[in-house]
Each structure stands twice: as structure tokens, then as C-alpha cells.
Symmetry: C2
Subunit: 364 residues, 2 copies
């Protein structure tokens, strides 16, 4: 890197000590006024000096202000070009009070749900010329909020997927987090829009489908106990009438579902409702290993419709969640909020049932 500073065409080597490294050297003391060349990357001052104009004018040119004479502007642009000038992002942040960045806080980057929100948000924000900070809060729920606060100090707005942080904590911090948008969750009395999934409706669709097929004995592969989504899905299942429900502690990953296969068989349910598609895929494989036919002997359903769900064997009946769209929408809301407009109201997306081949009539 430093090497190439060497071979430049002769305009370098301004007399005396071209070496002056650390910016702000003794040099500035005696000859600061008209000194040789700061040697570091070009600043607005060096461009101004080179073009023989004031810093204000350079700033105006760089920002496309129309009130600069075209000819002068051209001269400034030429000088900037010649010096490889790029405005310092840090200085602009400070001066403008704007970072051009938003942050996404998620509990777990390995979860396709959050990956898709990330994608949707990344693309939408990118299109608007905004950068994206990603924070994973794997740790305890308290950490979730601390990380969010910390991220917030480096950006203009937040998208928060905080399934575990208690409602009260979010409410008391909401002022310091603002502007922000909540995803996959809804908190009453929070001054921020939220985008969530109607888990009750999703489970409702699944239950309706399964009961229509004659299933009465269901097993639920429960997600992480602290997850708000899991609580809602479980509550919705419990509320369904005429069902005999067995709740099996499970988790959210393939392996968890896989490990639960034996318990599923043992509990004698004719249909398994997975907390999400990953545990459902896992249990599918586990059941096959136990020589249980799906859907012949046991039906299986998932939740989320991750990309994979179409490619399990048999393809998974599940409920589809517009995770990407959530990310996009989160951007729209956040953008509005950052511009002082309203972020709109809470939206609750309705999952859509996708019947594939992992569900069938209950065995008689």
C-alpha cells in the first residue's frame, strides 16, 4: 500500500519532509499557513486550496448546490478528481447529524425468518442509499435491549426483532430507541409501529385443515419457551375446541425436531404441528428413520414456509409468512418515521395455508 506512494508522477515530493506522517505534525506550527502538503488523504481544505476557493464552495460543489458558477464548479471538481478527494463520512455525520445508516437487531442470524427480514430490509434500505448495521443479540434478553441502544447511537433508526425483551422494558426505552419499528411482535402502548404475524390465524388455518382431515389427537412441537411467537401459537392451539393436545418441548432447529420424533410416536398423536418449518423438517426425517409413514400414519405441519419447505420429503404443509415483505415494509415505516411522518399503525400479516404432501387423512 504505502509502496505506491513512491511511484507517482513527479508532482509529489513537495520540498522538505514529504514524510510528515501523523496528521497534525510540528509542521503545522511554524508554516501551517501555506505548508507543503498534508500528505494524508485529501480533505476539503486541500481541495479548496488546490482550486483556489473556500471550503464552503467545495462543500457546495460536492453537494450539487446550484448556486455555484458552472465554471468554478468544474474547476473544483477537477481539483477534487486530481486529489482523489472523497468527503469524510465521519465529518459529514457530525456536521449533518445524520448517519445514513439504520440498524437491524435480531436474536438469531441462523433463523431463516430473520435472514429474510434482513434481506428485505437490506435491499430496501440499499435502494434508498442507506447502509445497514446488523446486530445479533444471541445472549440474554437484557442484552437484546442493551445492544439495541448501543446500535441506535450509530444510526438514524432501528428495526427491532426482540422476541424476548419484556414489554415493559421496551416501553420504558422506546423514547431512546426511537425512531424504530418492531417486527414479529406487537407491544401495546408503544410509540412505534409494529409488523407482526397473526399466529392465532395461522394456527387456526392449520387446525382447520387437520380437523377437516379427521385429526383429533395433535402433538405440538413447542418452540423456545421465551419466544413470544411460540406462546401465541401454543395459546391458539390450546384454544381450539375438540382437540386432544400433547405439547412436546422441542426448540427451533432441525435437530430439535429430529430428536422429538420418538416422543411424537409415543404420544400417539395422528398429526404433529411443528413450531416452525425447521423442527417440522427435522421430525419428518426422524419419523422416516422410525419407519413411520408421512402422511399415511402421521401428518406433519410446519410454520413460516422457508425456502426448504417445498423440498422436504414429503413436501411440507405449512403456513406462509411474508418475511421478506416484513423487511421491506419495516424500511418503509422506518423511513417515514425518520422523516417525521407517521409510521402508520400496527399491521398484522395473515399467514396463508399451503397444503402440500405432509398432511393427509387421519388413519382410522
Amino acid at each position: 500500500m504505502k509502496a505506491s506512494a513512491q511511484d507517482r508522477d513527479g508532482d509529489d515530493e513537495r520540498k522538505e519532509a514529504g514524510s510528515g506522517r501523523a496528521p497534525g505534525q510540528a509542521a503545522g506550527r511554524i508554516a501551517g499557513r501555506r505548508g507543503p502538503r498534508p500528505a494524508g488523504p485529501a480533505t476539503i481544505s486541500s481541495v479548496a486550496a488546490a482550486a483556489g476557493v473556500s471550503r464552503a464552495t467545495v462543500s457546495r460543489v460536492m453537494n450539487g448546490s446550484p448556486s455555484v458558477h458552472p465554471e468554478l464548479a468544474a474547476r473544483v471538481r477537477a481539483a477534487a478528481e486530481a486529489l482523489d478527494y472523497e468527503p469524510s463520512a465521519a465529518a459529514r455525520r457530525l456536521a449533518l447529524g445524520r448517519t445514513g445508516t439504520v440498524a437491524l437487531v435480531v436474536p438469531d442470524l441462523s433463523n431463516p425468518l430473520f435472514q429474510n427480514v434482513l434481506r428485505g430490509l437490506s435491499q430496501a434500505a440499499g435502494k434508498a442509499g442507506c447502509q445497514l448495521l446488523v446486530v445479533e443479540s444471541d445472549e440474554d434478553p437484557e442484552e437484546e435491549v442493551v445492544l439495541a441502544l448501543e446500535a441506535r447511537r450509530n444510526c438514524d433508526g432501528l428495526v427491532l426483532a426482540s422476541p424476548r425483551a419484556p414489554d415493559g422494558r421496551l416501553r420504558e426505552l422506546s423514547e431512546r430507541l426511537a425512531p424504530f419499528v418492531l417486527v414479529y411482535r406487537e407491544v401495546a402502548g408503544l410509540g412505534a409501529p409494529s409488523l407482526s404475524i397473526d399466529n392465532r390465524a395461522g394456527i387456526g388455518e392449520i387446525v382447520a385443515h387437520l380437523t377437516a382431515l379427521g385429526h383429533r389427537r395433535l402433538a405440538y412441537l413447542a418452540g423456545p419457551p421465551a419466544s413470544a411467537g411460540n406462546a401465541e401459537r401454543l395459546a391458539a392451539l390450546r384454544a381450539a375446541p375438540g382437540l386432544e393436545l400433547t405439547v412436546l418441548p422441542c426448540g427451533s432447529m432441525f435437530d430439535h425436531g429430529h430428536a422429538a420424533a420418538a416422543a411424537v410416536v409415543e404420544c400417539g398423536a395422528s398429526a404433529v404441528v411443528g413450531f416452525n418449518d425447521m423442527v417440522a423438517s427435522g421430525v419428518l426425517t426422524g419419523l422416516r428413520e422410525l419407519n413411520v409413514r408421512v402422511p399415511g400414519e402421521v401428518s406433519v405441519t410446519g410454520f413460516d414456509d422457508i425456502a426448504f419447505a417445498r423440498y422436504t420429503s414429503p413436501p411440507l404443509t405449512t403456513v406462509s409468512i411474508p418475511a421478506n415483505e416484513l423487511g421491506r415494509q419495516a424500511w418503509e415505516r422506518l423511513w417515514a418515521l425518520m422523516n417525521g411522518e407517521s409510521g402508520g399503525y400496527n399491521v398484522r400479516y395473515q399467514p396463508r395455508l399451503l397444503v402440500r404432501d405432509s398432511t393427509g387423512p387421519a388413519p382410522s
Copy 2:
């Protein structure tokens, strides 16, 4: 649950008069000198004034400098606390010339390979108190580099997964991108460490496994044409002796593999080598739909060992890549580089063959 917002104690329906929001009110205008309270968020100056010390002292206290009298320090801390003071991240960036941020540039966030690097990097960087900017360069190869450059201006270092940008372009920009680490790719004569996968060795393992099973006629489901990884894998296959190879244009996603199933059958190969696990999973499903038995009639292999590969049916024989580890290592290298140390040499990870059930003896 909208319902619950209803019945609870009347904390909703804020009277809405107390909402005098916009920070930076007219107040500061007239009495700015010694006025009541600047109204905006506290700055180092307001804390200094409140504590009756200079800004320098506040700065020293906030940064834990030992050269402040404990009693004074306590007074400053109390003032900071009372004012809810938080140092401005933007100002610190400018003054310190450090952002405390690194960026990851990936072509595609929906690819598990990059998702895992993201995770590894996020966790390692997070542990070091560093924030992570994520950039997706979905667009054309030129965009890849432009986005990297842009991201670089807002952080202290880059991790670059740029499978498509031409070598030369990277070389000519390497000075402006530095410090950075390249992943999933190696470019000769680049002043940056790279972490890559030995694709040739991976294909070698797969070929050895398949030939040992008696396969001679192979089909390769090719990845994106511009992908450097695809080129290496294809070259390695072509270099394998004694094989009859059919190259089928495919892609990198489930659907691409799924769509290629018919062509696989048609070409008469006894084994299919997928560019990655996703196309392999896709083709697995496609083959089942065509009533082709795997591995009875056709064997299938993948590449990468994504989490799902264990859960396809049959479980996918593939080659494992330590994507997470790549992310972690990328952090280590980058950290070293940012501290002026050497980033170490290029490392090429050796994939490990995982034999599962999607491969079997060639039909005779």
C-alpha cells in the same frame, strides 16, 4: 393482541397534549449563552458546565483516564448521569479517526454460505465490541466493488465476498479497500489475506467416492457462470480422468436444481454432482417426482454441507465447508490488519467428505 390493549388500565389514549416533541426548540435561540437548558440531548459542554469543569476533564472521565482526581471524577459522573449524557458516536468517530465498525460485502444474503460467514463474523466482531455493516451486492459485478468502496468509507475494515468482480479490478482497488480480507476466493498478488475453499480437493473427494462406487458417467449441475467457485469446481471435474462428464447449466437455488431433474434423467448419468447443496436438494426432489430412485438409480452429491443437507431425503452426501469458521477467521485477520499487524497468509480450507445416503453403487 389488540384485545388486551383495550381492557387494561387506562394508560392508553395519551391525552396527546403533552407531546411537545421536536428537539431543538426556540428556547435555545435567545438565551443560548447561559440559558436554562439547551433542551437538546446533553453534550460534553453541558456536562462540563454542570460539573463546573472543562470539557477536557469530562472527556478524560468518560474515557477512564486515571489522571483525574477520584472526587472530581465522581462529580463529573454524577453530572453526566443527571443529564442522561451519552457521548456522540459521530463526534468520537471524527475525533478518533476510528469508526468501531467493519463491513461485510456479500453477493447474496439468501445463500446459506454467506449467511454463515455473516454469523461467524458478527459474533466475533460483536465480542470485540465492533459493529457490523452488511452490504448485499446483488447487482452486477461492478456494483460489487462500488458498494465495497462506499461501505469502506464508513468503517475501519472490510470482509469481501466478491465472487464476480474481476481480479484486476480488485487489485487496482486494493489500496483503497485496505484493510480487508477476502473470503471464498483467492486473488494472486493482492495485498490482502484470503480465506478460501479448496474446491479442487472437494471435488476430488467427491469424484473419488463416486468412482469407488463404480460411477463413470457424471452430470454436473453447474452454478452461476460468473461464480469463481463454480469455475473451480467445474475445472476440477473436467480434470478428473476416466469420466464421462455432462455439464448441465443450472444455478444456485433449490428451484434451479429442481428444474434440472429432467435433464439429468435424459443425459443418462448415473451420478449427479450438484454445484451446491441447494441444487442437489432440488434435484433430489425433482428426481423423486420423476420416480427415479436415489441412490438406487442415480446418486446425488452436494457441496457446502448446509444445515438442511442432513434432512433431505435421502440425506445428502456432500462436502463440508466451515463457513462459520471462515467468518470467525476473517475477523481475526481483519483485526490484526487493523492493528497494523500482518493479516497472515492465504489459507485454503480443505473440505471434508460426508457420506450420507444419497450416493450408492452405480447400477450395473
